[in-house]
């Protein structure tokens, strides 16, 4: 539709407004101070596509001129439009739509994983629904718990299609789509296949936007509780960078409030024997990856080198670009590096039998759960990581253990694998991995000390970004993509031979790990993600050490154990391989 830059006049509940042509009724309402309730609508603004499917019919308002009920999320204001958001017709319309959805819903709120986080539940309360007038058959689909990462319960699906929009428009993975007809319609996979039979990357973006619990993480907490209560097990935990700037949201803090110290204390209270920092693994990854990059540049090895710390991204390339499996870095992800070293270096140092160590990761991510299952990520039959717990799950564990998070003292990570730099910290946001690696690669290539540490050209929120960095005589060409749809663009350009990069960072989630599928729900408020990212950059800013290779414990682990970056031992413990996994 052609939208001319023109001002038009409309009336919302008789309040006169001047709006731009192309303004939705929903936005016009906001301007008039009316917060029209919505359910299926989701707008991630510059981060992603808009789910404007007008399905749920909860946002209907009355167009006085035509007398019709119209969905405010997807109808545009026209000149002279008179909108009634609170007429009897409009209110009854939205109430009936909601009652109908509830009539086909299990309504097991008390025991539902989304209890108090469910948009359907909130809306039922907001609209003061106290009785459901329509009774009848309810959907009866099997629950899909085939994967280690995601549980899909179609009986809770309200067909908002947000997941479908994320899976198709943002991630271009295309696993989820509407199935069947009539009352049986549900968001699902082709032929109702189990998720583990599809090309799902477990990125969890469907989970992060699902208004109900139709898509949720598969919880690892029962296993973790069991391990914590087993006196024969030595339970080690590690925490990813993006967790510390988000978990506070579950305890009344603002998005971006940094709660690293309280988080460590909480983990100790829960009974973990040792608390390590995944950022240590990130620093180690930077060193190994920078070495690999320099080697590849020097030996005309396959370029570009793509980062490999995002598990959804690794699944994506294995499934969709099997011809490009030589481009990702062979480095394991930081979580796996910490896991591998915990069960070797730490076990030896602490005198614990690796068999007795249970490695638990606290991650902003649901795909990490399936990463932990990869056979490639184990040594002598012992998985690098045993259980992955998302930020949300950890918050629930803390509440369950009756720990008052807000009054906790500031704790500190255990040494050995607990020291971190600002470089590894910014792994949690898009552009952070490549910026951290560049700081190290620059010094490796040039042999000179880097002056300004910030590479501002690598920061930002655009889906695909490019930069050229002077490293002595050689220019380092760097690309960044977050969201898999953007990654696909870059990969297709590489396939065609149109893209010439030395290194590319790819993150599956919008904004990187801070927007991961395991984080506290953003409910469509992307400023939350921005504030989490800003917090990570702030930690970097105030860090004493801001280059991964300056991490004294990283240096120590090479001296004590790994010899040097890229050594045989480092290769054995810290590197992995990929294989084609073509699925439908």
């Amino acid at each position: 539709m052609k939208l001319i830059d023109k001002k038009i006049t409309c009336y919302v509940n008789d309040i006169e407004l001047e709006v731009e042509q192309g303004t939705t009724v929903l936005d016009a309402g906001k301007k008039a101070g009316v917060d029209i309730p919505t359910l299926c609508h989701l707008d991630l603004h510059e981060l992603g596509p808009v789910n404007q499917s007008a399905n749920c019919r909860v946002c209907v308002v009355e167009d006085d001129n035509s007398g019709n009920l119209i969905p405010s999320c997807s109808q545009y204001v026209y000149d002279g439009m008179r909108i009634q958001t609170d007429s009897m017709n409009a209110v009854m319309g939205r109430r009936t739509s909601l009652e109908l959805l509830l009539s086909n819903h299990p309504r097991d709120c008390l025991t539902c994983v989304k209890n108090r986080n469910c948009e359907l539940q909130t809306l039922a309360d907001d609209l003061n629904i106290r009785e459901i007038h329509y009774k009848g058959e309810k959907m009866d689909h099997p629950v899909d718990d085939s994967s280690r990462a995601i549980i899909k319960d179609p009986n809770k699906c309200i067909m908002c299609r947000r997941c479908i929009t994320m899976c198709n428009d943002m991630q271009t993975v295309g696993v989820l789509s509407p199935l069947d007809r009539g009352f049986d319609v549900v968001a699902g996979t082709a032929f109702h296949l189990d998720l583990d039979q599809t090309s799902c990357t477990y990125c969890g973006q469907c989970v992060s936007v699902c208004p109900t619990a139709a898509l949720a993480e598969r919880s690892a907490t029962p296993n973790v509780w069991k391990a914590l209560n087993n006196p024969d097990k030595h339970v080690v935990v590690q925490v990813a960078p993006a967790v510390r700037v988000a978990i506070g949201e579950s305890f009344g803090y603002n998005p971006g409030d940094i709660s690293t110290g309280k988080l460590v204390s909480a983990l100790r209270r829960l009974g973990f024997d040792t608390v390590f920092d995944t950022i240590f693994g990130a620093d180690l990854t930077v060193v190994e990856e920078a070495k690999e990059l320099v080697d590849r540049i020097e030996s005309d090895g396959p370029l570009p080198m793509l980062t490999s710390c995002c598990p959804a991204w690794v699944q994506f390339i294995e499934q969709q670009f099997p011809d490009l499996l030589d481009v990702p870095s062979s480095c394991k992800s930081p979580q796996s590096m910490v896991g591998a070293l915990s069960k070797s270096y730490y076990a030896e140092t602490a005198g614990v039998d690796p068999e007795d160590i249970i490695m638990v990761s606290i991650m902003p991510c649901v795909a990490k759960k399936s990463e932990a299952d990869r056979e490639e990520l184990s040594e002598a039959g012992l998985a690098n990581v045993d259980y992955v717990v998302t930020t949300r799950e950890l918050a629930r564990m803390i509440k369950e253990a009756a720990i008052d998070f807000r009054t906790l003292a500031e704790g500190a990570f255990d040494s050995l694998l607990g020291e971190s730099t600002g470089a590894g910290t910014i792994f949690g946001t898009t552009g952070g991995v490549i910026e951290a690696s560049t700081r190290t690669a620059y010094e490796m290539i040039t042999g000179k000390e880097l002056g300004t540490l910030e590479f501002r050209q690598l920061r930002g929120i655009e889906g695909v970004r490019e930069a050229t960095i002077e490293t002595g005589d050689r220019k380092l060409r760097v690309g960044i993509a977050h969201e898999l749809g953007n990654a696909r663009q870059l990969l297709e350009a590489i396939q065609r031979g149109d893209a010439h990069f030395d290194a590319i960072e790819i993150m599956a989630c919008p904004g990187g790990c801070i927007g991961g599928g395991g984080q506290p729900y953003h409910h469509g408020d992307i400023s939350r993600l921005e504030r989490r990212a800003a917090a990570l950059y702030h930690i970097d800013d105030i860090s004493e050490r801001r280059k991964a290779h300056d991490n004294p414990l990283v240096k120590k682990v090479y001296e004590d154990y790994l010899e040097s970056p890229g050594s045989l031992k480092a290769k054995q413990l810290l590197h992995t391989s990929y294989s084609a996994k073509e699925r439908i």
Binding site: T96, S97, S103, Y134, I158, R181
Partner: protein, 606 residues
């Protein structure tokens, strides 16, 4: 030969006009007759005519629908117009022997007028045909749809030639607008206006699309038009393409219509081989071609945005409008979507002028409308009448009333999206505005007659069952709401409903009508809402559980013959010989077996 001038067109017309032989024998191969093996009759006629050496004088014409479907298979023998009905294979020999050789008539195969109880030999004299006026169905049954020359003989493709020679695109849109042609798919949007919308859009590419999805149960207007006169559609689409700036046309037709797709494919390739499709039609700079898109037969794909989604190969689902298809349609380009019947009127409007067309029908609704007349009516078939004809005329005159002299209770129009018209409105002229005034809608042309025995609650449930299954499931009111309405009706019919259910039906129906995304949802409650309004007592009888659902024996009439007791399949009748008999209402399954055998009419129907 390439037909690229009017002269060449005239040559072909002249060569193919008039009856080629002394006698023409038209065998209906419309869907209904075909389903009764009229193709075998046709074959038998051809064999016999060959065997008896009659082929010098007799021509057998394979035609499209002769429209009087209830009397099929039909054969009409010209020049006199003798019409033989309900012919079986064994009758063919007799017709050949008597009619063609001996020149006598096979009177037993004449149509018998049920009212006059008199045989009627000629189609023109039958009430069914007399009140009809054909524009859309003009050639249907008169020509062999498989022969493009037959169409050209009826002035086919002359309108296209005229348009390309003498009209600008604006002229065509103007003519159509002035004619007052409105969308025959049910919406009734002025066609000329729709064409103007697309014409005024700027785009590198535009499309003209024919909606032949015809999803209403019991409707067969579009398929009959395509099967009987495919070239009329092709010519009209070319004219529409020229008028709107489209060089590519698409016919979206459901996969189940294999019988229609075949002649359509043949017609397209015939038109191409004559250069009537392709580049530079009639030596103008106008290129045009048509492709068939086969849909999977979802009812919702008759909705234009869902249809376009389906054409893309996507799931057939509607989307919010605007943007309208004229702005963003197929492949995101401006597209015009018209129904088959709308299109086939176009060449006639061009040939006879806008004034001629607008003089037919009523002021706001020009021309004619084709209906598929079915249900409890004596004369079942395809009916084309001028707009403004009353329901009474269609049902009682053309349709001949209900069989067995039963009273007609209502007429359902517009299929599952429509509502019922009751006796009080039978004199309403059928046109867009008058129907609107009585809260009904034209619909695409399904017309089902219901007699006094019809249970309106049960009928509503039938329609709702259809729509709730055909819902694409995108929006809540349609996906869940129609299911809940269906469940309420189901409860009512099982005598498990409550008076509150009636209020629930009304509220829910209103919500679905106003809050659904597309026309399917918005109209899905219509059958329920209109029958609730017209026959509230039938709903109340279920809701208050006063409805009799079992047969009952009138003891004053029962003579104790035991016949009923003996036939009852569930053994729910008690009684001794010569004593009174009683039906247990709890066990009665209302099969009616007892009612049929009772010699004294002592058994009261529920």
């Amino acid at each position: 030969m390439r037909i690229d001038t009017r002269e060449k067109l005239s040559e072909i017309k002249t060569a193919n006009s008039g009856h080629k032989k002394k006698v023409s024998l038209y065998v209906c191969t419309g869907t209904s007759c075909l389903s009764m093996s009229s193709d075998l009759l046709l074959e038998r006629f051809e064999i016999l005519i060959d065997e008896k050496n009659l082929d010098a004088d007799v021509e057998v014409v394979r035609t499209g629908c002769l429209r009087f479907c209830g009397q099929g298979p039909l054969v009409i023998i010209e020049p006199e117009g003798t019409t033989y009905t309900q012919i079986s294979l064994s009758d063919v020999d007799e017709i050949v022997e008597k009619h063609l050789i001996e020149d006598t008539r096979v009177e037993r195969l004449y149509y018998e007028d049920p009212k006059l109880q008199k045989k009627v030999p000629l189609a023109d004299e039958m009430d069914f045909y007399k009140k009809q006026k054909r524009i859309a169905l003009r050639n249907c049954g008169l020509i062999n749809p498989w022969r493009i020359e037959d169409y050209i003989a009826q002035d086919g493709y002359r309108a296209l030639a005229d348009v390309l020679e003498n009209y600008t695109p604006e002229d065509v849109c103007n003519t159509i607008e002035k004619s007052g042609l409105r969308g025959r798919g049910g919406g009734g949007f002025p066609t000329g206006k729709k064409w103007f919308f697309t014409l005024r859009e700027e785009s590198d590419e535009k499309y003209i699309i024919c909606n032949a999805d015809e999803g209403d149960p019991g409707a067969f207007m579009d398929r009959s038009l395509i099967e009987g006169d495919p070239h009329a559609l092709i010519e009209a689409m070319a004219i529409g393409g020229y008028a709107t700036g489209a060089t590519q046309g698409y016919i979206y037709i459901r996969a189940e219509y294999e019988v229609s797709i075949e002649p359509l494919r043949a017609a397209l390739s015939a038109a191409r081989s004559y250069g009537l499709l392709g580049s530079g039609l009639f030596q103008s700079g106008f290129d045009f071609d048509i492709e068939i898109k086969i849909g999977a037969g979802a009812f919702v794909c008759g909705e234009e945005t869902a249809l376009i989604h389906s054409m893309h190969g996507w799931r057939g689902e509607p989307r919010t409008k605007p943007p309208f298809p004229s702005q963003q349609g197929f492949r995101g380009r401006p597209s015009t979507v018209n129904n088959v019947e709308t299109f086939v009127n176009v060449p006639q409007i061009i040939l006879n002028g806008a004034e001629w067309f607008s003089s037919i029908g009523t002021e706001g609704s020009s021309g004619t409308k084709v209906f598929a007349l079915a249900g409890s009516v004596r004369n079942v078939g395809l009916v084309e009448v001028p707009m403004g004809t009353t329901f009474r005329d269609i049902v009682h005159v053309i349709g001949g009333g209900a069989p067995e002299g039963k009273a007609i209770k209502a007429v359902q129009i517009g299929g599952p999206s429509g509502g019922v018209i009751t006796e009080e409105h039978f004199d309403t002229p059928i046109d867009y505005d008058s129907l609107n005034d009585i809260g009904a809608m034209m619909g695409s042309g399904g017309m089902i007659v219901m007699d006094e025995d019809s249970d309106m609650v049960d009928i509503s449930k039938f329609y709702l069952d259809f729509t709730q299954e055909e819902s694409c499931g995108k929006c809540t009111p349609c996906r869940v709401g129609t299911k809940r309405m269906y469940e309420i009706l189901d409860r009512l019919l099982a005598m498990e409903g409550t008076p509150e259910d009636l209020e629930r039906l009304r509220t829910l129906g209103h919500n679905i009508q106003t809050a659904s995304l597309c026309g399917l949802g918005q109209s899905a409650p219509n059958p329920v809402m209109s029958t609730m309004q017209a026959f509230p007592e039938e709903y109340e009888a279920y809701a208050y559980r006063t409805k009799r659902t079992a047969y009952e024996i009138d003891l004053s009439l029962c003579i104790g013959c035991t016949k009923c007791k003996r036939v009852c399949p569930v053994d729910c009748i008690e009684g001794e010989l010569r004593g009174a008999h009683v039906i247990d209402p709890e066990s009665c399954i209302a099969c009616g077996a007892c009612h049929e055998v009772c010699p004294k009419d002592a058994i009261i129907e529920p």
